[in-house]
Structure formats: C-alpha cells, structure tokens
C-alpha cells in the first residue's frame, strides 16, 4: 500500500537547476514551487482564480502605497531553521542581487522595491512607483532561509512539504515528504520526476505503469478520455506586426491580415479541438479580460478590398514580408505556419516563411527589429498565467516595450493608468485597452490560446490546470 503513495511524474524537459529564485522558469517551478519552496501568496487557479495566503497569513496596502505582510508563525525550513521576516527579506534581496541573475527579478523591473522588516513576523514592501499588484508579484518569489548564500544552489531548502532526496542529473529527481511541515500532510509521500522528450513515450509510460502523471502529452496521443485531460496552458500564439514599417504601418493592412486568417479552420485540425481563438495575448482567466471583444471574422474578400483600398492610397502593400517562427515552438508549427503563409498570400500579400533556431530568434525578437528581411512578422507564443495583463501589456504594446510593434500614445496612457489602478478600475482599464488594441489598432494578429493534454493514471486523483505547466503542487494530488 505504501508503494502506492509514491508518485512518478514524467515531463518533457530535463530540470537543469533547482534554484528557488529561478522558479519562475516553468521546468524548475514545476518541481520546486509549493513542494520544496513556498511563496508568501499563492494564486489559486482551481477555484475563482484568486490570491490566497501561503507563508503570509494576510496582507494590506499601507497608505503610502506600500504593502504589509503578516507572516505565518511556527513554520520551519527543512534545514530546521525557523521562518521569519528576515528570511523573506533575504529571499528578496538575494533575488534582486547583482551577484546572481535570478529570473524572477524581471517581474520587479521598472520599479524600485524595498523590503523592510517590521518585526519577526511582519514585513513591508515599498515600491516606487506604487505597485497595486505587489501581493501577486510576491506569489512569484520563492522563500529561502536567510543562511542561503548569494550564489546558485543545487540543494534547495524551503518551507514546503517536501525535501529533495535524490537528484541524478539526466535521470531523475526525487522529492520526499517531510514530517515537520506546517500545513496538512500531503497524500503523496514521495515523488519522482522522470524526463522523456518524446511525447509518445511519455504517453506510453502511463499505459505501461512506468509513470503516474504525464503533464504534457501530444494531442494525437490523447485518445483515452478516461486518462487524458486537456487544460488551457496559458500560452497564446500571435503574430507581431510592426507599425513602424510598410506595409504594416497602415491599419487597413493590419486589419486585412486579421481578416485573412481562417482561425476556425485550425481548430480540431492542426490545433487541438479545445484550443481557443484569441482576442488578446492573455487567457480569459486574466483580470480585465474583455468578453465583448469578438474574434475578427474570416473574410478574405473584405481583406482583399481593404488592401486594394490601401494600395490605392499609395501604401506599399506589395512589400516583401517575412513570416518568422521559432523552430519547434509548439506542436505542428510547420503546418500551422505553412497554412498561415498561404492564407496571407491568398489575399494578395507577399509573404516568405522562415524558421529560426531558438537563439537566433531570441536575439532578433526585440527592438529594434531586423530590417534585412523586409517587414518581419514574428509568430510568437506568449505566456501569461499570472492573472494580470500588466505582465503582457507593457512588453508587447507600449511604445517603449521591448517586443512592441505598437507606438500609440493612447495605448501608452492606458497602460500607465491601468498599472497604477487597483481592482475594478484596473479591470476596466485593461478591458478598454484590449478592445482598443484589437478592434481599432489591429495592433497584431492574435491567434489561439493553446491547450495542453495531460495523461493521468487511473488510480491518481488529479486534474491539470492552467498553472500546470509552471507549477505542480504535489499536495493537490490524491489517490483513488
């Protein structure tokens, strides 16, 4: 019976590092977050998608815009030391340190943040400019004990219910439950991560009983409704349009491109049946997502007419464009891109297709955009499972945004306002921006919110969520 409490999880990518401050990287986070390392707050996507207490029992915004967190008491790290405000401060400082490059740091870019210990169980975070979503941001920071040196560690220590008990690089990572955990003891006593790049193999391993959960299998293999479950994986596919160069500097051309694509045709063919058509770069579960914005209907004739119109006005509609994609970015990418290319060509645009290797793609996918390939159309995937559009909007649409093809004062203003606003205001402003971008600016070509498929052995009680790609809290897993 005891053996059944061991869980084997097979994932695609090997985990290179188990560094808490890198836990925002999904492969690392999937193992670390809420298992070994915990955060102050926790975005619970199972229920209403709301922020819940974890190591912080409660938080309030002070009058000066800073945030006060009251920490949970009686919590110990797996190394035995007690958890207190100093640990939180150390975790934050360590994350922000210039001795190491922590990925989580990027969420705190563009602001000055100060962590101030008030007492052992209270800590203040002061940001300039004020951060309405500070509690959400802190759901991304894994807490480490204050003894943790400021260099990458391969032996993570945290307050979570598990400790790292074996790590054989390339083969497996084993976590086992600790008995002095502050919360409820989880059902899973130990969990082993296995790494198999091939989706078919991962699917097969559940079938043969070599693994219990495969969080990501290919849609083609997801044929058994008993074990295979789809979930929105928070990734959005879109095409970035640069409004600084011809012909995408003309709104009619941008609109025509949106109209030229038969998005419906992809669903259930090249993309899974459960994928959603997108109107924005963040999924519907995000704050301020605007349900009234409708997908641009497929209308090739309309597109042709628009382009005619633009051409008549002297817009260089026939300029050579290059549709760029990152190799193996998502399943079926080659077919999807070929279909997109064909659809754009059918309305009379001149579109080349090119696939780039990851490094090269990453290198050029930021401003200033390359010019030697004509007007470039980046096909990209964007991931925002964090629940707030601010993780998207600035980067992708602000005139200063590093991956923005948009340069529009109204957009800039809306972003600034929304970022500073809270609650309903915030939601309303984001909604407005979403509609403006989609329906008036045609700023880019949003395509799909993709879904993933997980295969779960019959005896396991667990369902994937939108957070599954970046986090896999073992505590949520039960046995039937």
């Amino acid at each position: 019976q005891d053996a059944d409490r061991d869980l084997r999880i097979v994932v695609a990518e090997e985990v290179d590092l188990l560094e808490p401050c890198m836990a925002t990287q999904s492969t690392i986070g999937a193992v670390l977050l809420q298992n070994i390392s915990e955060t102050l707050t926790y975005l619970d996507v199972r229920g209403e998608s709301e922020l819940t207490p974890k190591l912080a029992e409660s938080w309030t915004q002070n009058d000066d815009g800073s945030w006060r967190f009251n920490l949970r008491q009686g919590v110990t790290f797996s190394d035995g030391s007690a958890f207190d405000a100093a640990d939180v401060k150390h975790s934050f400082d360590r994350m922000m340190s210039d001795q190491i490059v922590c990925e989580a740091k990027r969420y705190f870019g563009g602001m000055e943040v100060q962590a101030t210990v008030v007492d052992d169980h209270t800590i203040d975070f002061t940001a300039d400019p004020a951060q309405p979503i500070m509690p959400l941001l802190l759901s991304l920071m894994a807490i480490v004990p204050s003894e943790t040196p400021i260099e990458f560690t391969r032996e993570p220590v945290g307050t979570g219910p598990y400790v790292l008990s074996d790590w054989t690089p390339g083969q497996q990572i084993v976590l086992s439950a600790r008995d002095d955990y502050w919360g409820d003891a989880p059902a899973v006593t130990s969990a082993t991560w296995l790494f198999r790049s091939d989706p078919a193999v991962r699917a097969a391993m559940i079938q043969t009983g070599e693994a219990d959960i495969a969080p990501s299998i290919a849609v083609l293999d997801a044929t058994n409704p008993e074990t295979d479950f789809s979930y929105l994986d928070s990734e959005t596919i879109y095409i970035l349009l640069d409004d600084a160069v011809a012909p995408t500097n003309d709104v009619r051309v941008r609109q025509a491109m949106n109209m030229a694509i038969d998005r419906e045709a992809f669903i259930g063919t090249l993309l899974p049946q459960d994928a959603l058509l997108a109107t924005s770069l963040f999924p519907p579960s995000t704050l301020g997502w605007n349900p009234d914005v409708a997908v641009t209907p497929y209308d090739p004739e309309g597109a042709i007419a628009l382009l005619e119109d633009a051409r008549a006005d002297g817009v260089a509609v026939d300029t050579q464009m290059t549709l760029l994609a990152r190799t193996a970015n998502f399943p079926n990418i080659v077919e999807v891109m070929e279909a997109l290319q064909q659809m754009l060509q059918e309305v009379g645009l001149t579109v080349d297709l090119r696939f780039l290797e990851v490094a090269e793609y990453q290198r050029i996918f930021k401003k200033p955009f390359p010019t030697e390939m004509g007007s470039v159309l980046f096909t990209a995937m964007h991931d925002n499972s964090k629940g707030d559009p601010s993780f998207t909007m600035f980067f992708k649409y602000a005139s200063e945004g590093p991956q923005s093809g948009t340069d529009d004062p109204k957009v800039d203003q809306l972003i600034e306002d929304a970022s500073a606003a809270t609650d309903d205001d915030r939601a309303r402003l984001w909604s407005e921006l979403q509609a403006y971008l989609h329906d008036e600016l045609y700023a880019d070509v949003p395509l799909f919110h993709t879904v993933g498929y997980a295969r779960v052995a019959p005896q396991i009680d667990w369902r994937p969520t939108i957070a599954t790609t970046s986090m896999l809290p073992l505590g949520e897993i039960g046995f039937k």
């Binding site: 078919a200 083609l220 293999d221 063919t269 190799t327 080659v334 070929e338 297709l353 090119r354 090269e360």
Partner: protein, 304 residues
C-alpha cells in the same frame, strides 16, 4: 566463336557489355529502373506537380491512402495540410536528391582524395591529414551546423557542406587504410617501375580496389544524409518549408506515426527504396568492375 588469332579482337563497346551485365542481374536492373524514375522525378517533378503539392486543404487533412475518390494524386493519402503525399514525394525528390547527392559526392570525393594522399605521401602530410580527420570526426555535426548557420548564413549549399564535412573522415580513413596495404602489392610496384606517376598509380591501380568499398559506404550514406538533413533543417539551415524534402516529410509525419502512419511511411519508403537501389547497383558494379568476378554476370547473361 571463331576469330583470327593474330589480331586483337574488337571488344564489344563498354556500354554494350555493361548493358548485358545489367540485364543479367534482375535486382540491379530493377534498381536502375527505380533510380531512373527518381531522377526523372527530381528533374521534372517540381515542374509538373508543384501546384498540387502546395495546395492545402485542411478539410482533407491526413486523408488515408488508397482512396481514389479524391483523384489519383491522393493514392498515397494526404498530409496534415491535406496536400497529396504523392505529389509531395515527387516534388520533394529534387531537393532531396540534390542535397543527398551533393553531400555524398562531395564528402566521398574529398575523403577519397585526402585518403589517397594520406596513404601515399610522406609521414608528415599523412599525419596532418589524419589528425585533421580526427578533429572532424570528433566535431559534432550539430555544432558545425549551428556555426555554419551563424557564420555563413543558411543556404542549401551550406547545408550540403555541413553534411559533407562530417562524412569525410570515413572515406578518408577507409581509403587510407586500404592504400597502406595495396601500395605494398607487387603490381603497384610494377607500375612504379614503369614510371607511373603517383597520381596515376593512385587512380589506376589503387582506387579501383578501394572503390567498391567506398561505393558501399556512400550508398548507405545516402540514407543517412537524407535523414540527417531534416534534423538540420530543424535548426533553420538549408531546406525550409514550404520547400520540402523526404527527410522533412518524415520528420513532420513523426508525430502521426501511431495515428496516420502514411505521412512518414511513404517518404521513408522512398528513402529506403532509393538506398536499396543504390546499394544493389553498387553491389552489381562491384562485380561488374572486377574481372575475376565478372563471370557471375556474363554467364547468367549467356544462359538466359
């Protein structure tokens, strides 16, 4: 058969002789026919079928083979974008053969020449060549591809170069190993005594002995290169969709292996059959070129 013993009888032309020997080996004959078809496909295919190979039809995606309702082009089924696999295989032949033949011929030629040089020159030159081969041999092809991609930019020629370079050492080392032994044979020394140049000895006396082995390796390298090419296309070097090769078709069909086997099966079969044909042909050539073995073909020709 009577002839005047005092004159050298005229030989039937080389072509006639080889034709007869080819007729005598049914396998080789079939191979030649198949290869001719492939070459024709490579030359004419893109002209004839390019349009149908590119016409997408998402409704008819992954259409199964042997269903003639959609027209004869659909006999092999359709790919994930509903394009007829038959047209695509025909059209892809050009790029496939160009890249594979380019890479194999280039590596075999370079490797063989360097091998002859290494086997037949002073110890210093030979050392340099061989250590270079060592280096190439331990140079991972993927890294090479990425480097070439970045330094020289993507193109079909660069793809061929990358594929070729990594295969040079096997020809080089094989040739050189054989030369080490063959150069000790008496007939090589006899040629030396006649004043034959090193070049002539290498070409006329040594190469013919090594040639069949090199052919064997080269024919199998064909398959290897066709498959490896798709792996490099993945990096963005060389052939890019919507251009197509058999290797790319296979790798695109990979995920459908268990649900729509035909996507990667037919191009795979094309590669297998091409390799097989080349190999049967090289085995035939091995015998046809070896006077002490040639009777195997000549006798059969006579009997049938």
């Amino acid at each position: 058969m009577t002839h005047d013993p005092d004159i050298i009888p005229a030989e039937p032309g080389t072509l006639t002789r080889f034709r007869r020997m080819l007729m005598a080996d049914k396998f080789a004959l079939a191979a030649v026919i198949f290869l001719t078809i492939v070459v024709l496909m490579a030359i004419l295919g893109p002209m004839l079928l390019d349009a149908s190979a590119q016409r997408q039809n998402l409704r008819g995606r992954n259409a199964p083979p042997f269903d003639l309702d959609q027209g004869w082009l659909m006999i092999l089924g359709a790919d994930a974008l509903g394009r007829p696999l038959l047209s695509r295989i025909v059209v892809a032949a050009q790029n496939t053969i160009m890249v594979a033949a380019g890479a194999v011929v280039f590596s075999a030629l370079t490797g063989t020449l360097l091998g002859l040089l290494a086997g037949y020159s002073g110890p210093r030159t030979s050392q340099v060549i061989l250590r270079m081969a060592d280096v190439i041999m331990s140079f991972p092809s993927l890294l090479l591809a990425v480097i070439v991609l970045y330094v020289l930019g993507p193109s079909v020629v660069n793809l061929i170069i990358v594929l070729a370079i990594t295969r040079i050492p096997v020809y080089l080392r094989t040739t050189r190993a054989e030369v080490l032994e063959i150069r000790e044979r008496m007939f090589v020394q006899a040629a030396q005594v006649m004043g034959a140049s090193r070049w002539r000895i290498a070409m006329r006396h040594i190469l013919p002995v090594v040639f069949p082995t090199l052919m064997t390796i080269a024919t199998l390298d064909f398959a290897f290169v066709m498959l490896a090419e798709s792996a490099l296309s993945f990096l963005g070097i060389g052939i890019q969709p919507p251009d197509i090769t058999w290797g790319l078709m296979i790798s695109q069909g990979r995920q459908y292996l268990t649900t729509a086997w035909w996507l990667s099966f037919w191009p795979g079969l094309a590669i297998i059959l091409t390799t097989l044909s080349l190999n049967l042909l090289s085995n035939w050539l091995r015998i046809a070129l070896d006077p002490t073995q040639r009777w195997r073909l000549e006798m059969k020709g006579r009997r049938s």
